[in-house]
């Protein structure tokens, strides 16, 4: 395709419009990328980035608008079409077969005849060498780390001869070091003439890797800027639509007595594999303990164990010196330990998608005396939350699944906070939220901190963890690789701890 499109754009979209029901996800969007260029697609959640990319990769079909590849108008009806046109998409969630080797995953779905594994291995090695990738084609996916899996995904699209690469939030699951490696690969591919579109909402990464940035807001493309002429501040303003203060408060409180103490805790997953391996830590009142770690390092299991949802193999969890292991979730809720876990689909746990705010308020408090549910206090609470947190919803009876992500998370966190907990465990509370909503959530957490609530904050964004938490505990493969003072440590250090690479000093805490 490169020779055909000299001077033309590798890919160009004009007036792309796509609606889901009455929601206009993409409204008259235009963008273009040249060969040998990296375009960053920036936008808050719900601004239509992923929808647009899904249309380029044949998963959706636009209602209106045209797509040109190398100057020719095309219609992409399926991922197979996209592949033939040389478009390769790397999804946020990997689409790999766990029990297959890297090699098998790479050829899977191609229409070519089966070739001998020797030739195939050579072919793959050759491709990977050309862009500086290291990979063992025989390795099984389940044996791979997240960044290795991503490498396989990249090889998969390169093997198919993709000249246009789309990456949907590729860095969300990577440590800072792994991100650097990925960017090096992308630059190499750019040199070879690939056109690359990268979706992200991390501004510093945009500035680092891209040549140009197209900013989407509320389904419209508001602006395309050249990266070297712009700044974080300008990008934020374009993305949000007005200027925002990017500072996060860290109020100081008198750290008082230890509220929650985890001692020598070991948890096995239901499948028998180890999730948390012999960890100990404590949380004081009026403190935010940040937990960093690559996704799947045991965060979920730790949360669930504290909330009484998961069986523990060894160790103890002491709440005000009383062991809460063996208590039912209901008893633990009544002790004032509140857990709000925002899973990847945002609604999976903690909220009932088809119910309105009122019924969701009832979730943890419905079980008092009598046969009937008393909805009056719940209704009042819902009204209070709407006012206090500025929740936007047609009515408090509207099913929460129809509300936007930010509002849903405000409902969840608001309910947990209104239950006046002593310990508040919150996992990914800003997952997928736009900047404004995120800052509302940070403020809410800080407010609780001032009220002497002990807070566990499990987060993804290291910058936020560093600014918000008092201490940061780093998990790696279910072990604590370090507990750092947030004011003194650095992002690089946390990143190293996340991979379990740092050996010196504090890392011995896990014991």
């Amino acid at each position: 395709m490169t020779e055909a499109s000299q001077g033309k754009y590798a890919i160009e979209c004009k007036h792309i419009t796509k609606a889901f029901g009455n929601v206009l996800a993409n409204d008259n969007i235009g963008l273009h990328v040249k060969n040998g260029e990296i375009l960053a697609l920036l936008g808050e959640n719900g601004s239509g980035k992923t929808t647009l990319m899904n249309m380029l990769s044949g998963i959706y079909h636009p209602d209106k608008g045209t797509i040109y590849i190398g100057g020719e108008e095309v219609s992409i009806n399926s991922p197979a079409d996209a592949m033939e046109l040389g478009i390769g998409m790397i999804h946020q969630h990997f689409k790999l077969v766990d029990v297959f080797s890297a090699m098998d995953n790479i050829v899977l779905g191609t229409k070519e005849k089966r070739i001998s594994s020797k030739i195939l291995r050579e072919k793959i090695t050759q491709i990977s060498k050309s862009i500086g990738l290291e990979i063992n084609p025989e390795k099984k996916i389940y044996d791979m780390s997240v960044s290795e899996k991503q490498t396989v995904e990249i090889l998969k699209v390169l093997y198919r001869g993709a000249q246009i690469l789309i990456l949907d939030e590729p860095t969300a699951v990577l440590t800072p070091q792994e991100t650097d490696k990925l960017f090096a690969i992308l630059r190499k591919m750019k040199e070879q003439g690939c056109a690359i579109i990268i979706i992200t909402h991390k501004l510093h990464e945009v500035l680092d890797i891209s040549d140009r940035v197209t900013i989407l807001r509320k389904g419209q493309s508001v602006e395309t800027v050249v990266t070297k002429d712009t700044s974080q501040k300008e990008l934020t303003e374009l993305m949000v639509g007005r200027s925002v203060d990017l500072e996060i408060d860290r109020p100081t409180t008198e750290h008082q007595e230890t509220v929650l103490k985890v001692v020598d805790l070991t948890i096995d997953k239901p499948d028998g594999s180890n999730a948390i391996n012999d960890i100990s830590f404590e949380i004081k009142a009026g403190e935010i303990l940040g937990i960093a770690g690559v996704a799947g390092s045991g965060q979920k299991e730790l949360c669930e164990a504290i909330a009484g949802l998961m069986n523990v193999k060894k160790g103890a969890i002491l709440y005000k010196k009383e062991n809460i292991l063996g208590k039912t979730p209901e008893e633990i809720i009544k002790l004032g330990i509140s857990m709000s876990f925002v899973p990847e689909d945002r609604l999976g746990m903690g909220l009932v998608a088809s119910m309105g705010m009122v019924d969701n308020m009832l979730l943890k408090s419905y079980n008092n005396k009598g046969f009937f549910v008393d909805r009056k206090p719940a209704k009042k609470l819902a009204e209070v939350l709407v006012k206090k947190l500025g929740i936007v919803t047609p009515s408090i009876e509207t099913p929460v699944r129809l509300m936007s992500g930010g509002n849903v998370q405000k409902v969840l966190l608001g309910r947990e906070i209104e239950s006046r907990p002593n310990v508040l465990i919150t996992a990914y509370p800003v997952r997928g939220l736009d900047i404004n909503s995120s800052y509302t959530i940070y403020d809410l957490l800080n407010e609780q901190k001032k009220k002497n609530v002990a807070i566990v904050f499990i987060g993804e964004d290291l910058d936020v963890l560093l600014e918000l938490s008092d201490r940061i505990m780093v998990l790696c493969h279910g072990e604590i690789t370090g507990i750092e003072d947030a004011e003194k440590t650095t992002k690089e250090r946390i990143g190293l701890l996340m991979t379990g690479a740092a050996e010196e000093g504090v890392s011995a805490h896990a014991g």
Partner: protein
Amino acid sequence: MPDSKKGKEPLLRTVKREEISNKKIALLRIEALLFAVLAGGIFILALGYNPFLIYGTIISGAFRSSMAVQGTIKIMIPLVIASLGVTLAFKMKFWNIGAEGQIIAGAIFASYFALFHSDWPHAILLIVMFAAGILGGGLWGLIPAYFKSRFDTNETLFTLMLNYIALHVIAYLRDGPWLDPGAQGFAKIARFAKNASLDKVFGVHAGWIIAIILVVAVYIYIRFSKQGYEISVVGESHDTARYAGMNVKKITLRTMFLSGAVCGLGGMIQAAGSDITLATSVAGGVGFTAIIIAWLSQLNPITIVVVSFLFSILEKGSSVIQSSYGLSTDCADVLQGIILFFVLGCEFFIRYKFVLRSKGGDR
């Protein structure tokens, strides 16, 4: 490379609709019904009959006399009760396809007392039979629930298979232990004594009163009780329910017992009110029709009454065209099938619509 530019836009594609107003939904359903009648009419025409005459007979057949109306209501009673039963389970997203078996189990339990303790005082005997029906159906519902919560078995298959077991238990009782000695070798179970059958109120057995009470009770239970709330939460997500401190296993067992119990009660009413004996046809497909009714009513107990009524008219009317025009039962079934096809198919159009290629999205 030019050959890579292949494939036009597909001719038809489906697009999700915005949430449409209730008025529009009602209109769509009425349209579907009209189309169904039209398609059914063509079918009747193809058979060589006058569709207007046949349709007229269906309606008049269901209402032409007080006898006919009573007959229609008699068909409706088990439909309503069984639909309420499966609704409880469906609210929890527990796919109880076993209403048929639960009806039978309830009927068997109740029949035991009707056959062997018919000398008990009428009121006491009926109360015991009610209790037996509830227990029988409830236990039959509890079995798949237990295995589901203990071993995570597939409840759809499990409840379905239990239907056949229940059916063959009746056949066994009929041919052996409960064989009517007065039937001179003809395989049937004896008729219940008058003392063991339901009394008639306004010409129809008292089951209709129980059905009305159940409608109200189930409505209140689902809408306002804590247990009803728990059912909805468990139905949405087991994780969420556990997170809220609910005992999912207990709720599953309790709800399936209730679901089966309601169906079992229906079985007892059918045996003691309508059949006045225990026959293999005591459920007669009601348990399956109930699934359709419950879904068409969107698990709303009040709507269940309306939908069941329409089904009963169709059923009763079909039996009349059969006797007056000699149209076979199978033709009546085809007619029912056509109507269902349209009514159920219209649910798709409530959520989606088709967009033609050239128009490229009509917004």
